[in-house]
């Protein structure tokens, strides 16, 4: 079932600047976890604020459960949208206890029903013993959980999370990510995350929407976004990428690293750029090899090598960290492309 639909939503903060969100159209299914990924200033947070009702779109419609929330001649304020929000800074009310924070959105319930719901939701996030503490007495991870509990307490149809893990330490971040996903799946809550962290987007989401300059470049499963980026921007923003020039021939796409299939059916004679991921490239050291190792980046579980090809193009190859090749080693590089993705030369 379709829960949320954005139709040609545009938001401009100042007349003399490009729109923050530009003609955004997408739908989100019930129970789905969606992530907006993009560089800072790409419009992802603005999109979230438009859905929540903190901003009014200049044009287009925001539809939740077939009901127009914002659109021509119609405006539903945030308090009537039934959307939970987890803020980047958590926005916990400092003058209220954990239990009062969590119960803040339950003012329509009776006293005992509210207490029961607060207890239940605190149990879900594992904070039942912290009910009477104040937010400042909690750790970052605990505050994060209170913010989630508060947003979930009124059982919203949709919950929006704005960079929720960015204030946490790296190891805590991975742990909280897993826990938040468990809670969201457990409650069947539809969720939209905003992040600039690609790993976070890939591990959490059913679908990832990549935004750039207010436009949706691609909205697909994480695997599709990684292996079949729709645009050159997505290819470059998601994962490490090299591009190698090639020419389309009858046999396939001919490049310096060999001939690749042409599944996209490009016209013969066309000049293209072939996308190469570091895990697509392997090499063997050969004294007569045409490539040279320019640099090695030690990454712990892997070594990333930068190779210079005879044409001067640089490509990267990731290898296990067990063997180490010195800089200057001559190598023969090979590309094993499972997914061939090409972009037009000019793109």
């Amino acid at each position: 079932m379709e829960l949320l639909a954005l139709e040609q939503v545009t938001k401009r903060y100042a007349a003399d600047r490009p729109p923050a969100v530009d003609g955004l159209t997408l739908t989100v299914q019930q129970g789905e976890i969606l992530t907006f990924l993009g560089p800072s200033g790409c419009g992802k947070t603005t999109t979230l604020r438009l859905i929540a009702g903190f901003e009014v779109p200049d044009s287009g419609r925001v539809v939740i459960r077939s009901e127009t929330m914002a659109g021509p001649g119609r405006w539903v304020p945030p308090e009537e949208r039934g959307i939970g929000v987890v803020f980047q800074d958590y926005a916990l009310f400092p003058h209220l206890t954990v239990a009062e924070n969590v119960g803040f959105g339950l003012h329509h319930l009776g006293r005992s029903a509210r207490r029961e719901r607060v207890r239940q939701i605190l149990e879900l996030v594992g904070l039942e013993t912290f009910a009477s503490r104040y937010p400042h007495a909690l750790s970052g991870g605990q505050q994060q959980r209170v913010a989630l509990a508060r947003a979930l307490a009124p059982a919203p149809a949709l919950i929006l999370l704005d960079e929720p893990f960015s204030n946490l330490d790296a190891d805590l971040r991975a742990q909280m990510r897993e826990e938040v996903e468990r809670i969201l799946r457990h409650t069947g809550t539809t969720a939209i995350f905003v992040t600039h962290d690609q790993e976070e987007a890939f591990t959490l989401a059913d679908r990832v929407g990549v935004l750039n300059q207010g436009r949706l470049e691609q909205l697909d499963t994480p695997e599709t976004v990684y292996h079949h980026p729709a645009t050159r921007f997505v290819a470059e923003f998601v994962g490490a990428t090299d591009f190698l020039p090639g020419a389309v021939t009858a046999e396939g796409i001919a490049t310096e690293l060999g001939v690749f299939p042409n599944p996209e059916g490009r016209d013969i004679g066309e000049r293209v750029k072939v996308m190469l991921r570091p895990d697509d490239i392997t090499f063997v050291p050969r004294p007569d090899g045409q490539g040279v190792i320019v640099r090695r980046y030690f990454r712990g579980s892997e070594n990333l090598y930068c190779l210079r090809l005879p044409s001067g193009h640089l490509v990267h190859s990731s290898q296990g960290s067990a063997t180490v090749y010195a800089r200057g080693t001559r190598v023969r590089a090979e590309a094993n492309l499972i997914h061939v993705v090409t972009f037009s030369q000019g793109a």
Binding site: A52, G53, F54, P77, P78, E79, E80, R81, G82, I83, G84, V85, F87, Q88, D89, A91, F93, P94, H95, F104, G105, H107, H108, R150, A151, P154
Partner: protein
């Protein structure tokens, strides 16, 4: 905004009235009378008075602030706590104190005496700003200077003091403006300034034109100084990267410890301990039955002071809250800038302008205690707005958005989230306006209805008519103690980091 409009009306009305009256003056006639008053000489004298008072206050405040915040001065915590307290002693009471101490007719009754008193009882304005700036100074900046090869003395001169420039300017201009606008001290010490000339004129004659023209002149000067302040501060606001909780390191004074202690103790003695002691001593000369009779006789004036100050402060804060909240959300045009005019007008001028303006437009308010409340509102709406704005600025907008997303309407959000969170800043602003209104003398003297005296008015009349006798001292002591309690509460709010800037 339904309350901001009448406030703006009362801010602009008096000034407009004085402009109209003052400019209606016939040129030649005015020049003739200005010459008779030796106007250029008087203006020069007031300028000298304001400059001397500012320099004297700076000489008291800056070393004291540095000693208490950044050195190992003996008893620095106690002194840091005591240093702002002289603000509870209005300068005109300070003048009475030194009248008790020194023989009549001496050097005290001169420009120098007035500057001495003004500096001693206004220096905490500067102290508060400078000590706060010193506490905020990022120690890494001084460490970086040491790392670049500067000696501790060079660091003080080339890094620490330059970083204080915005605080010095802001505090210095407050005192400079006070010097221009003061009426209480100069009238008691018989120094002729613009304010005393204006006051004497409206007491003696029914002629509006000359006092109005002088008021316009005085207001023009103070507004120029205020604009200069805004301009300088707009440029000189240094953005320091705030460091963690690490407090700035203290400097070891070595053999200078005890001379420094003597200096700091001397400042506090002259401005706080001696005044309280002298007032107490002078008041104790009243016999017990006389004291009781006196207390009963003065009680109504006390009631007058308190209820007008409470009403004025409450009204100012309610308006400031409305204006601050709406301005923060860009739901109204900025009007609080306009209110600053009220802050720049000397009390004497505002009193005169309001009396004339209200008499002409709203005669049913004229000669009622409402006049006092409106005067306090106009004079002190700016500190109220600053307090509310500072409190609102601390409030992250996501808190209100969180409440909205949890189903609260805007008004419910305001009651359940905004108001509880800004309460300390709001209370601080209320106390500030209450204290300022309680001690207001110059405007009150002019706008009070016949027979409706406040405590400052009674003190002033006693001191002018009879001199610094036990009655005046007793009343002054009572006023100081009444102001000191809320002032202490305000300072404790400040030490928790929520003192309104202003």
């Amino acid at each position: 905004m339904s309350l901001a409009l009448p406030t703006a009306f009362f801010v602009l009305g008096p000034i407009g009235f004085l402009l109209w009256m003052g400019l209606a003056q016939e040129g030649a006639d005015f020049l003739e009378r200005a010459r008779a008053l030796e106007l250029p000489k008087v203006v020069g004298q007031v300028a000298l008075l304001a400059t001397l008072a500012t320099a004297w206050a700076g000489g008291l405040a800056v070393p004291l602030a540095w000693l208490t915040v950044r050195t190992d001065l003996p008893g620095r915590r106690l002194m840091h706590w005591l240093a702002p307290l002289p603000l509870a002693i209005p300068p005109y009471i300070g003048a009475i104190v030194y009248q008790i101490l020194l023989p009549p007719g001496g050097l005290l009754y001169s420009l120098w005496g007035a500057a001495w008193v003004l500096g001693l009882f206004t220096y905490p304005h500067l102290y508060l700003l400078v000590s706060a700036a010193l506490e905020r100074t990022n120690p890494s900046l001084e460490e970086a200077a040491r790392g670049a090869g500067l000696t501790p003395r060079q660091v003080l001169v080339r890094v620490t003091l330059p970083l204080l420039r915005p605080a010095l300017l802001a505090g210095g201009l407050i005192i400079f403006l006070y010097g221009w606008a003061d009426f209480g001290v100069v009238s008691l010490l018989r120094v002729r300034t613009l304010t005393t000339i204006i006051y004497d004129y409206i007491q003696g004659t029914l002629d509006w034109a000359l006092p109005a023209a002088l008021s316009v002149l005085l207001t023009a000067i103070t507004i120029c100084v205020l604009l200069l302040q805004l301009r300088i501060l707009g440029r000189a606001g240094y953005a320091q990267i705030v460091s963690g909780a690490k407090p700035p390191p203290t400097v070891a004074l070595g053999i200078w410890r005890w001379p420094a202690f003597g200096y700091a103790a001397g400042v506090l003695t002259l401005s706080l301990l001696l005044p309280l002691g002298l007032l107490g001593f002078q008041a104790s000369r009243l016999s017990a039955p006389a004291a009781v009779a006196f207390a009963l006789g003065q009680w109504p004036y006390f009631v007058n002071s308190v209820w007008t100050a409470v009403t004025g402060a409450s009204l100012a804060l309610v308006i400031a809250l409305g204006v601050g909240w709406l301005e923060g959300r860009r739901l109204t045009r900025p009007v609080s800038g306009l209110f600053q005019i009220g802050y720049a007008i000397p009390g004497t001028v505002l009193g005169l302008g309001m009396a004339g303006f209200v008499h002409a437009t709203l005669p049913w308010i004229y000669a009622t205690p409402l006049m006092l409340i409106v005067a306090y509102l106009v004079l002190y709406i700016t500190p109220a707005c600053q307090a509310v704005k500072a409190a609102l600025a601390q409030l992250h907008p996501s808190l209100e958005e969180a409440a909205r997303s949890l189903g609260r309407r805007p008004l419910a959000t305001f009651w359940s989230v905004t108001l509880p969170l800004i309460k300390p800043g709001f209370m601080g602003g209320w106390i500030l306006v209450f204290v300022l209104s309680m001690r207001e003398l110059a405007a009150t003297l002019i706008v009070r209805p016949p027979g409706f005296d406040t405590v400052p008015v009674r003190i002033w009349i006693y001191a002018m008519d009879v001199g610094p006798e036990p009655q005046a001292a007793a009343l002054a002591l009572a006023l100081v103690l009444t102001i000191a309690l809320p002032w202490l509460a305000l300072l404790s709010l400040r030490s928790r980091g929520i003192y309104p800037s202003g």
